[in-house]
């Protein structure tokens, strides 16, 4: 698989119809890390995620993957609310493989293996949309994992889940990282950020105010905005 790192964002701005959402974003994502983007609602976390993934085009600056402009296939995004197609869990995972050009004969095998890795092998043949929210999110993770991405973007993957379901999703994220995939995720759950982050990228009002190793961030955030955010958070 070709090396797609580093992902570099060079003075990225995003202002659809002139309304600024993000400005002056400089960021460099290397292989291997778990980066968590923290920030209040409306700070621009989801938009930043979509820009990096390639769903949105920046209105200023440039995004490069290993100095190339084209968006590589070896990266996936898992959304806050998983979008399940009206077919079985297995078929949902196989669908991603089909779009990725995996031959018909291998799809179901690989899809089943991916479901097994997220602990859902027993639900493979159930219609995906009648699964619980947590199970659906794990199917979405299996769909992404089956593609063996170099980097996995996760946009608030547990925001609409109860704690038990959130924990099982977190476990899968840890496993995916353990298997060699870089993780870039947003959350506004500080506990989750503590558990999962190697480093924190703090976003405030469309700008990055700091990027700090996780251990340090939660004790001594460097930016005043992050301090306020940490203090204001409910225990």
């Amino acid at each position: 698989m070709p090396n797609i790192f580093p992902l570099t964002l060079n003075r990225i701005g995003f202002a659809p119809n002139g309304v600024p959402v993000l400005a002056d974003i400089d960021l460099r994502i290397e292989a291997g890390a778990r980066s968590v983007i923290l920030g209040a609602n409306g700070a621009g976390k989801s938009v930043l995620m979509r820009l990096m993934h390639g769903l949105l085009k920046p209105t200023a600056g440039e995004i490069r993957w290993n100095a190339r402009e084209s968006r590589p296939a070896a990266q996936c995004l898992v959304f806050q609310r998983p979008v399940m197609l009206r077919r079985s869990a297995l078929a949902n995972v196989a669908y991603g493989l089909k779009l990725a050009g995996v031959p018909h004969t291998r799809r179901n095998l690989e899809a089943r293996a991916a479901l097994e890795r997220v602990g859902l092998a027993h639900l493979a043949d159930r219609p995906a949309r009648v699964l619980s929210g947590g199970e659906q999110q794990r199917v979405a993770l299996a769909r992404a994992w089956a593609l063996d991405p170099r980097v996995l973007f996760l946009d608030e993957p547990t925001a609409s889940l109860d704690p038990a379901a959130a924990r099982s999703v977190e476990k899968v994220i840890v496993d995916i990282h353990g298997a060699g995939t870089s993780i870039v995720m947003t959350t506004h759950n500080l506990g989750q950020a503590r558990r999962l982050a190697d480093e924190i990228i703090f976003l405030h009002a469309g700008r990055i105010t700091e990027r700090t190793p996780a251990a340090e961030f939660f004790h001594r955030p460097r930016s005043i905005e992050a301090q306020t955010f940490l203090e204001g958070e409910l225990p």
Binding site: F79, V83, R86, L99, P127, V130
Partner: protein, 234 residues
């Protein structure tokens, strides 16, 4: 209105006695309208999906036209297809006028805008939900369209039943291009019109009852399918 009770009892007798003439007429109606809807769907469903998903110049205009044509008068469609199929028309050499094939074509044209418009609405709703995910997975417009058509298949079945309901109940188009020839192109609606004007109310009423029953069954089918799909697939 002494006619009504008399006609009604004779009509029920015809239905209960499985009158052969009646059966032929009902069978032809079903055959023509079913074929028309299937033929129409081949074109109208992809067109509707493309209107929902596609991003091309003239999409809005086309959508407005398709929506507007949902209420196309059947007689006008009949007239247009008649002009196409008549001996002097561009498709005249095929010799289809006054055959069941002509009736299928006319009804297919009639229901195409209805199928396309309802498909566009159905697929557009699903697209709103799927768009980011499908783009994220790298689906092309063609792949996304196929996926959406498949994923909304139960709703589209209901759409097709709606088209069938419109086709089987219309009289103007089949009358013009079919000619209402006894034993060849005579369907339920044209028979009702003819027999009523001739004064044979029992046969007209019998067919009317069957027609209403059919439309009710179609709607029940649509309802049950929708409920089942919702329960099973979410």
């Amino acid at each position: 209105m002494r006619d009504l009770p008399d006609s009604l009892s004779t009509a029920l007798g015809l239905v209960a006695g499985v009158d052969a003439r009646l059966l032929d007429i009902v069978a032809l109606s079903l055959r023509v309208s079913l074929s028309a809807v299937l033929l129409s769907a081949l074109l109208a469903l992809p067109l509707g999906a493309l209107l929902a998903v596609g991003n091309f110049a003239g999409r809005r205009t086309l959508t407005v036209i398709v929506n507007g044509f949902m209420g196309l008068p059947a007689v006008v469609v009949g007239l247009l297809v008649y002009l196409l199929l008549s001996r002097a028309g561009p498709l005249g050499p095929l010799g289809l006028l006054f055959t069941p094939a002509a009736m299928v074509i006319a009804q297919a044209v009639l229901v195409a805008p209805l199928l396309a418009a309802l498909t566009r609405q159905t697929v557009a709703d699903a697209w709103r939900e799927y768009q980011e995910q499908l783009h994220s997975l790298g689906a092309t417009t063609r792949q996304a369209t196929a996926t959406l058509l498949w994923d909304t298949r139960y709703s589209l079945f209901t759409v097709m039943l709606a088209g069938f309901g419109r086709a089987i109940a219309e009289v103007g188009a089949v009358m013009i291009v079919g000619g209402n020839i006894d034993g060849v192109t005579r369907v339920m609606t044209t028979t009702i019109a003819l027999e009523t004007s001739k004064g044979d109310l029992p046969l007209a009423l019998a067919l009317g009852l069957i027609l209403i029953a059919l439309v009710l069954v179609i709607n029940a089918l649509a309802y049950v399918t929708g409920a089942w799909a919702q329960r099973r697939l979410g």
